[in-house]
Subunit: 367 residues, 2 copies
């Protein structure tokens, strides 16, 4: 049994662990087939924001486990992105190819609306800006919309830009200069985020090595940047002589074998959930590898869509994403001071902001 | 695993069966210790209304099972009470004696408020009008408040009155006159609802037999009505020569043994969930016993508190509760026409109202 509250329960630990979620909302609309779970980890800093994942989960338990984890991660990401937003996420149980319909998306929109702005949604796996436009026909609390509807458009633009800022901070911390000129950077995955990261790296004068399971993605990249070296797969990439390893594909890139194999002394990429299991952050630190926490450096995307709440302005959003450089530097120095891995330092900083800034709402203002 | 959506799942049937709940909201506030589940069965007829049960459930699953069942029952009750309200219910997991606090009740109130009026709360087991006044300091969607705060006060007044109306309808259907004069009525349980029902019965000229596990309750009743006969226990009561049996104590009064034992030809009482298991309604019908469905005749209480939404007016609420007479008669004739037990006829009428009246909101009005 999945235990939403994380009550003491024999087999509940795997889902909620020690986290307590403020609100978890199961939504159902029989006619349209909607089955969704919206999870709000906390609203200490403001309304919870996070995307809607549309995925054919094997069970309600699997969907719940995912949304609880993802919403917690959003709380930490939004906190360190400096946003006035709490952490939330939603999942729709179903096959987006078969089950997505106007009625289902609009029924979902009504449930988002029913929370009165405590949760803002956005795109995630299986949902696109066009879908958010449909959801927004029933709700005022939707980001990630199309440019035509005042949305932020493709959020991988600032995701990649933010990862680049994080990498510059890692360079500054490691080598005394933020420039990547002459550094060899291995980029795993050159899809939406990875290929844009390569653009920044090439412009900055880095030597770039890439791999991708999609030949088309590799061809497109080499067409733009003929100087980029292509290797066969992630095994060859991570075994290469690298200064920086940038995982931009699936989660779990940093497993025991990969960490043992790396010659890179910096890891900084756009993928989510890069740490394969708890303790990997310590293995990286023990090997002298500087790890820029994934959720800190890939926050450019949420920064981009969150800007829609004020009325989207790309310059303002980019300026905010530029601050990922400062935040990442701060995490590295805080980690060094406290003698902990950067991933731990990042969590502590996020928790401190939620706790210290969250409580000021207790100061009475009349509403 | 309890499956909120009632997805196909080996052991989920016992909880949700075939019902799909529109929204189930898990709410948690770590500091105050609040752990609550709000269940909205459906909002076809309007905002969901139902009480908040504060109970030391053994597990979250047990709490979830209870709130899913109770909210479904409220949907049917509210529908047949003629209210413009859907079915909802909430549970707070904890020991009210030990865990109830201002902070907890107010944290709960914020979650009720967060639903923007889709759910109105009220008292239930473990919560009192004074508690609702505290919840209302954080939420506009609270009924069951104290008279001093514009509330409906003790809702057992109209609960008992409604049960009496249902019993008059059963008398009319069975004997051609709504009067209980000279009828022998056995009232099991003379607490909040039962003793008020006895008041109505005595006034109408019925011969009343009672029992109660509380000697004090019995003494108080006999003090008011010396002519009432007292028997030792429910076994003696249900074995007595009765025209009407009125269960007003715990749920499950109508088990196989009790049904076999009854000489009464009418069952009509204030208790919830009188049918001990599915199929008992058929056994009653087979024995020629007219069963007035519990949730139909005990709806006076929710009618009383729901009236607070308009600004409480006892005369208006009583007039509405008087309609329980017509509704119960209609159920009996509909049951006779369709050749089904009254409990089945009641469910069908409730479902028809939810479906037929619910859909008219599809007529566009500009908001």
């Amino acid at each position: 049994m999945t235990d939403v509250f994380g009550l003491s329960h024999k087999d509940a630990g795997s889902v909620t662990g020690q986290t307590r979620h403020e609100q978890v909302v199961f939504c159902s609309d029989e006619r349209s087939g909607l089955r969704a779970i919206i999870a709000i980890h906390n609203t200490a800093l403001g309304p919870a924001l996070g995307g809607t994942r549309f995925y054919p989960y094997e069970s309600e338990q699997a969907a719940l486990a995912d949304v609880l984890n993802l919403s917690r991660a959003m709380a930490y990401k939004n906190a360190l992105a400096g946003l006035d937003l709490g952490g939330g996420k939603a999942v729709i149980i179903g096959d987006p190819a078969a089950d997505k319909s106007e009625a289902l998306l609009r029924a979902y929109g009504r449930f988002v609306q029913s929370l009165g702005g405590r949760y803002f949604t956005a795109c995630d796996v299986g949902t696109y800006s066009e879908d958010m436009d449909v959801v927004a026909r029933e709700s005022s609390y939707v980001t990630g919309r199309t440019l035509a509807h005042g949305g932020a458009g493709d959020s991988s633009i600032l995701t990649a830009y933010g990862v680049f800022q994080g990498m510059r901070a890692a360079a500054e911390h490691s080598w005394g200069s933020p420039s990547l000129r002459g550094r060899r950077v291995g980029v795993e995955g050159v899809g939406k985020v990875g290929h844009r990261l390569v653009d920044h790296l090439v412009e900055d004068g880095a030597e770039v090595v890439v791999c991708d399971v999609s030949e088309r993605a590799v061809e497109r990249l080499v067409g733009r940047h003929p100087q980029v070296r292509v290797v066969a797969d992630r095994l060859e990439l991570t075994a290469s002589a690298l200064d920086v390893y940038a995982p931009c594909a699936l989660g779990g890139a940093l497993d025991d074998d990969t960490v043992a194999r790396l010659s890179a002394t910096v890891v900084c990429g756009g993928a989510n959930n890069q740490l394969g299991h708890p303790g990997v952050e310590k293995q990286l630190a023990d090997r002298g590898i500087l790890y820029a926490p994934d959720y800190v450096v890939n926050a450019g995307g949420v920064i981009q869509v969150a800007d829609e709440i004020e009325g989207f302005n790309m310059d303002r959003a980019r300026a905010k994403a530029t601050q990922i450089y400062d935040t990442t530097l701060k995490i590295f120095s805080s980690a060094a001071e406290d003698g902990v891995p950067p991933a731990v330092a990042a969590d502590r900083l996020a928790e401190r902001r939620m706790s210290e800034v969250g409580r000021i709402r207790g100061i009475w203002l009349g509403h």
